[in-house]
C-alpha cells in the first residue's frame, strides 16, 4: 500500500496520462478517417520529438515559453481566477523587449533590462483586468479576451509603424546580439531561456507553498468566502495573481524573441507568438496547475509541436492535428468520470493483491 500522500499525487498524474492516451487514440481515429496511417504518423511524431539529442533540444525549446504561459494560468487557477490573458500579455512583453534594444544599453544591462521591461509590460497589460474585476465586477474571461485582441492589433501597429526594421518591413528590428539568450547546442534553437523558465517554476513553487502570500492565494482558491472571513483581502489577492501572472507572461514573450534564432525579432503576423498563451492553458490543465506538473506537460506539448512538424513531412499528416489532439485531451480532463475509472481500477488491483 502506498502512503496516502503518494496516492494523492498519483491520481492526478494517472488522470493526465489517461487523458493523454484518450487524446492520442481519438487523434488516431481522426487520422484514419482522413486516410492517414496513424501508426507511422505516431512513430514519426515520437522520433521527431524525442528520438535524438537534436529533437529533444527542439522539444525543450518549444516547451520554454509554454512553461511560463502555463504558470500564468495556473497561479490564477490556484487562486480561483480564470486568467486567459497570457496571450496578449506575451505580445506586449515581446515588443517591450525589442523596444529596450533601441536604447543601446551597455552589455549585461541590456539583457536584464529587456527581461524586466517585458515583465513590466505584461504587468501593465494585466493590471486593468484586475482593476475592472475589483472596481466593476467584470469577469476576467471577458476582459482578458478583449485585451488579447487589443494587444493583437497594438502589436500589428508597433511592428508596422514604430519598431520596424528599416531594411525589412515585415519585422521589427532585431534584438542586439549582446542581449540575446545564449544557445545551448550549436544546431538546435534551445537556449538559456529554458533556465529562466525553470527558475520561474522554482520561484512560483516556493511562493505558493512556502510564503504566506502564496498561502493566501491558495486559500482563496479553495474557498473564497472562508478566506475572506479569515481576513484575506480579496483585493490584494486579485491584484497579486494578475500582476504576477502578467509579469510571467511578459517574460514568455521576451524569452521567445530574445532566445529563438534566427531573427530575434517579432515578425509581422506574430507567427512565433500566436497561440502560445492558449496552448499554455492546455499545458497548465494537463499539468494540473502544479509547477512541476507543468514542466512535464510543457515538454509533452513541446514534443508534440516538434514531432508534429516532422509528421507533416514524413507520412504527410498536417501539423494542425496536434492541436486537435490537445483539444481532445483537455475535454477528456474535464470529465470526472475518468477519476472514478482510475479509482475503480485501483480498487480492483487491491482486491487481486
Amino acid at each position: 500500500m502506498l502512503p496516502s500522500s503518494w496516492r494523492r499525487r498519483f491520481n492526478p498524474i494517472a488522470e493526465s496520462l489517461l487523458a493523454g492516451l484518450i487524446g492520442l487514440i481519438i487523434g488516431g481515429f481522426i487520422m484514419l478517417a482522413f486516410g492517414y496511417n496513424p501508426i507511422s504518423a505516431y512513430r514519426s511524431l515520437f522520433f521527431g520529438s524525442f528520438g535524438s539529442t537534436y529533437s529533444w533540444a527542439e522539444s525543450l525549446a518549444n516547451a520554454t515559453p509554454l512553461i511560463l504561459t502555463a504558470l500564468t494560468f495556473a497561479i490564477a487557477m490556484r487562486g480561483g481566477l480564470f486568467n486567459i490573458g497570457a496571450e496578449g500579455q506575451l505580445y506586449v512583453g515581446a515588443l517591450a523587449a525589442v523596444a529596450v534594444s533601441l536604447m543601446h544599453l551597455p552589455s549585461p544591462f541590456n539583457l536584464v533590462v529587456s527581461l524586466l521591461a517585458a515583465m513590466v509590460a505584461g504587468m501593465i497589460w494585466s493590471l486593468p483586468v484586475a482593476l475592472l474585476k475589483l472596481g466593476r465586477g467584470v469577469h476576467e474571461v471577458i476582459s482578458t479576451i478583449m485585451f488579447n485582441w487589443i494587444a493583437h492589433f497594438f502589436a500589428f501597429y508597433l511592428i508596422a509603424n514604430v519598431l520596424t526594421d528599416p531594411k525589412r518591413g515585415e519585422r521589427t528590428i532585431s534584438i542586439v546580439e549582446s542581449a540575446r539568450l545564449t544557445r545551448i547546442l550549436p544546431m538546435a534553437t534551445l537556449n538559456s531561456g529554458i533556465l529562466i523558465s525553470l527558475i520561474t517554476v522554482a520561484v512560483i513553487l516556493f511562493f505558493l507553498w512556502r510564503t504566506s502570500a502564496g498561502f493566501e492565494v491558495r486559500a482563496a482558491g479553495y474557498n473564497q468566502e472562508a478566506s475572506h472571513y479569515a481576513g484575506i483581502s480579496l483585493r490584494k489577492q486579485v491584484l497579486r495573481v494578475f500582476l504576477i501572472g502578467g509579469a510571467i507572461a511578459g517574460l514568455a514573450g521576451a524569452v521567445q524573441v530574445m532566445g529563438r534564432p534566427p531573427y530575434y525579432a517579432v515578425m509581422s503576423g506574430l507567427p512565433q507568438l500566436v497561440n502560445l498563451g492558449f496552448d499554455g492553458i492546455g499545458v497548465a490543465m494537463i499539468g494540473r496547475n502544479h509547477p512541476i506538473g507543468i514542466v512535464f506537460a510543457a515538454i509533452f506539448f513541446g514534443g508534440l509541436m516538434t514531432g508534429g512538424r516532422i509528421m507533416q513531412f514524413d507520412p504527410g499528416v498536417p501539423f494542425e492535428l496536434v492541436r486537435v489532439i490537445e483539444g481532445v485531451i483537455i475535454i477528456a480532463l474535464a470529465v470526472p468520470e475518468l477519476r472514478r475509472l482510475i479509482s475503480r481500477f485501483r480498487r480492483k488491483r487491491k482486491h487481486e493483491n
Binding site: 481522426i30 482522413f34 480564470f82 486567459i84 475592472l132 472596481g135 466593476r136 465586477g137 467584470v138 469577469h139 474571461v141 471577458i142 476582459s143 479576451i145 478583449m146 485585451f147 488579447n148 485582441w149 487589443i150 492589433f153 497594438f154 500589428f156 501597429y157 508596422a160 509603424n161 497561440n275 492558449f278 492553458i281 492546455g282 490543465m285 498536417p318 501539423f319 494542425e320 492535428l321 496536434v322 492541436r323 486537435v324 489532439i325 490537445e326 483539444g327 481532445v328 485531451i329 483537455i330 475535454i331 477528456a332 480532463l333 474535464a334 470529465v335 470526472p336 468520470e337
Partner: protein
C-alpha cells in the same frame, strides 16, 4: 457625411450584429438554465466550416445553414453531457472545445488543399435582399425574430419558467419534479445550435469564406453581450447592434480615404473590443445572474 455613407455603415452594422447576437441569445438560454459555455468561440468556428461544406456538398445555402446548426447542436450536446450527467468542469471542457475547433478547422482547411483559407462559391451563399439603398441578408431579420422569440420563450412560457428555475435553484426545481439535467441538456443543445447558425452565417453568408481566424473573438464577445444584457435577449440584440456598429465603423474607416491616413487601421480595429469592455464595465453592477450558474447539479 453623405446619406450613402449612413446607409453603408448601417448595413455593415446590421450584418456584423447577426453572429454575435445569435450566439448571445443561444447562450442566454443556456446561462438561464445554469450552464456557462466558454466554448462558444469554438462552436462558431466549427459551424462556419460545417456550413461551408454543407452548402457546397448540397448546392444549397439553406442546407449549409442547417449543417452549421446540426454540428453546433452536436457540440452543444457533448458540452451538455459533460456538464450535466458527467458533472464535469464547464470551464475546462469549454477550453477544450475551443482548442479542438481551432485545430480541427485548420486541419480541414489544410486537407482541403487551401491552408488557412477556403472560399464558398457565390451561388451557394445566402442570397441578399436588394433594397433601394443597399443589400441586406435575410439572416438580419431572422436574428431579430429569434431574439423576440427567445425573450418570449424565457419570460412568457411555462418552459421558460422551468429553464430559469433549474438555473436559479436546481435542488428546489428537482423537488418540484423538474428534470434538472434534461432541461440543462436541452438548453446546451439549443445554445450550440444558435452558435452553429451564427458560424454558418459567417461562412455561407457574410464573408463567403472560411478562415482559421474567421470568428475573431466573436464567441467571447457574445459572452460579454450576455453579461451586458443581464440574460434579456432583447438587450442582447441591442448589445449586438452596438458591437456591430463599431465593427462596421471600423470596416468603413479602414477603407475610407482621408480617414485612414489620420487614424491607423489597427486602432480602429481595436474599437469593438474596447467598446465591449466599456459597455460591460458600465452596466455590470445591476446585473443579476442565476445563483447556480456554472455549478453542476448533484442530487444529495
Amino acid at each position: 457625411m453623405e446619406l450613402a455613407h449612413f446607409w453603408g455603415i448601417l448595413f455593415i452594422s446590421l450584418h456584423a450584429m447577426v453572429p454575435i447576437t445569435l450566439a448571445a441569445i443561444g447562450e442566454t438560454i443556456e446561462e438561464s438554465a445554469g450552464l456557462f459555455n466558454i466554448g462558444l468561440e469554438g462552436i462558431l468556428l466549427l459551424g462556419a466550416l460545417a456550413g461551408a461544406l454543407g452548402a457546397q456538398a448540397s448546392g444549397s445555402a439553406i442546407i449549409g445553414l442547417m449543417t452549421g446548426i446540426t454540428i453546433g447542436a452536436a457540440v452543444g450536446l457533448i458540452f451538455g453531457v459533460i456538464s450535466t450527467t458527467l458533472r464535469g468542469s464547464q470551464l475546462i471542457s469549454g477550453v477544450g472545445i475551443n482548442l479542438f475547433a481551432l485545430g480541427f478547422v485548420a486541419l480541414m482547411l489544410t486537407v482541403m488543399g487551401a491552408p488557412g483559407f477556403h472560399s464558398v462559391a457565390r451561388d451557394v451563399q445566402v442570397p441578399l435582399i436588394h433594397l433601394g439603398v443597399g443589400s441586406l441578408s435575410p439572416l438580419v431579420i431572422v436574428t431579430v425574430i429569434l431574439a423576440v422569440a427567445v425573450w418570449w420563450l424565457l419570460r412568457r412560457t411555462q418552459l421558460g419558467i422551468w429553464i430559469r428555475a433549474v438555473g436559479e435553484n436546481p435542488a428546489a426545481a428537482d423537488v418540484a419534479g423538474l428534470r434538472v439535467n434534461a432541461l440543462r441538456l436541452g438548453a446546451a443543445i439549443a445554445a450550440g445550435a444558435f452558435a452553429g447558425l451564427a458560424g454558418a452565417y459567417l461562412s455561407v453568408d457574410w464573408f463567403g469564406a472560411v478562415t482559421k481566424e474567421i470568428t475573431a473573438g466573436r464567441g467571447f464577445i457574445a459572452l460579454a453581450i450576455v453579461v451586458f444584457s443581464g440574460l434579456n435577449p432583447l438587450l442582447a440584440l441591442l448589445g449586438g447592434f452596438i458591437f456591430g456598429f463599431f465593427d462596421g465603423l471600423a470596416t468603413w474607416v479602414a477603407t475610407y480615404p482621408g480617414v485612414k491616413d489620420i487614424i491607423p487601421w489597427q486602432f480602429v480595429a481595436m474599437a469593438p473590443y474596447i467598446v465591449t469592455l466599456a459597455v460591460v464595465a458600465g452596466v455590470i453592477g445591476r446585473v443579476k445572474f442565476p445563483k447556480a450558474l456554472g455549478v453542476p447539479y448533484m442530487r444529495e
